[in-house]
């Protein structure tokens, strides 16, 4: 039986994942739904709108995406330097590339999470500074407020993203035989395997967190004007 109102979860997705759209699209979907379209049609339209909106943002903000990708590539090195300051070389390597078991997210200490946050925050700081300088609108007080706002956002984004991607990583690693996950740290040959298995989830978490943080720094307005959000 058809519900009296459009699917609430789909509407929530539309409102929160396609925020740059004005309300005309949401109103059109509601109008069509009440005119006899199915819930399946509504879901398809919402998913398409989110995908198209995402593609538009990537196209409009490609420097931010490139920067997030570059920072993701650099992040293990930065993380290694951080941990190396606190630990010896072998322990730092183990901490970076460790795979403890199927349910390990590799972020089992608050120190790991703080290290992760500080690397991502540093990336956002560099991007905000570069963007401000390139666009000739650098202001010390605004720079500080942007950084503080992004640090808070990173705190809010990192834990749910870690939980979601940690779960996916756990499911993937549970499907792999246990001996395939055993990493011999003394052998240089074993590193590519650990890179493939352990750095995958880490990179996904990092990139998934970096992208929205950088996107919210500078977003192109609907009518082509640059706008600062946050």
């Amino acid at each position: 039986m058809r519900a009296d109102s459009p699917p609430a979860i789909a509407t929530w997705f539309l409102d929160h994942l396609c925020a740059e759209r004005d309300e005309a699209l949401a109103g059109d979907l509601v109008e069509e739904y009440f005119d006899g379209r199915s819930a399946g049609w509504y879901w398809r339209q919402v998913m398409a709108a989110i995908a198209i909106g995402g593609a538009q943002r990537v196209r409009a903000c490609w420097p931010a995406v490139m920067f997030a990708a570059l920072w993701t590539v650099l992040s293990p090195g930065l993380r290694y330097v951080q941990i190396r300051l606190l630990d010896d070389d072998a322990a730092a390597m183990q901490r970076i590339w460790r795979l403890d078991g199927p349910w390990s997210t590799r972020f089992d200490t608050s120190l790991d999470i703080l290290a992760f946050l500080s690397v991502i925050w540093l990336g956002v700081a560099v991007y905000v500074a570069l963007d401000s300088c390139v666009n000739g609108r650098f202001s010390g007080s605004r720079f500080v407020s942007q950084l503080v706002s992004r640090l808070v956002r990173a705190l809010m984004l990192v834990l749910p993203t870690l939980a979601a991607i940690g779960l996916i990583a756990a499911l993937v690693s549970a499907a792999i035989p246990e001996n395939a996950l055993a990493v011999d740290w003394g052998s240089a040959v074993s590193i590519p395997l650990s890179l493939k298995l352990a750095h995958g989830p880490y990179s996904m978490v990092f990139f998934a967190t970096a992208i929205p943080l950088i996107f919210t720094t500078v977003r192109r307005g609907r009518r082509g004007n640059m706008a600062i959000h946050g």
């Binding site: 759209r21 005309a24 699209l25 509601v30 709108a49 198209i52 082509g224």
Partner: protein, 111 residues
């Protein structure tokens, strides 16, 4: 200054629909008209994305209507083709017509 560039297939279709619908063109009516001609479902998100691109090029203008209770209190956004949009649609038609005329007749084709 208006950005000069070729119109995409979907953009041209939207401009033609805007000409056909006149002042009452909004998301739903544009999508329905496109579906009627193309014979397949159209994503409203892609219609809006194209309309926004066309608006950015100065080929389309828009205005927000009054909030409507049947739409959950949300207003319609009406779109209209601009003079420049009309000129570019015409120019594209002329180019396409010339190109079609220049083609040899394909087997099984009537016109």
């Amino acid at each position: 200054m208006t950005e000069r560039g070729y119109l995409g297939e979907f953009e041209l279709m939207i401009l033609l629909v805007l000409i056909a619908l006149g002042e009452d063109a909004y998301g739903v009516s544009i999508a329905r008209e496109l579906e009627r001609h193309r014979g397949r479902e159209v994503a409203l998100g892609s219609v809006y994305a194209s309309l926004e691109r066309l608006e950015g090029k100065g080929l389309v203008s828009s205005r927000i209507g009054e909030p409507i209770a049947e739409r959950g209190g949300k207003a319609r956004r009406y779109f209209q083709i601009t003079r420049e949009g009309l000129r570019q649609a015409n120019e594209t038609r002329q180019v396409l017509t010339r190109m079609w005329r220049g083609l040899p007749k394909v087997e099984g084709e009537n016109a």
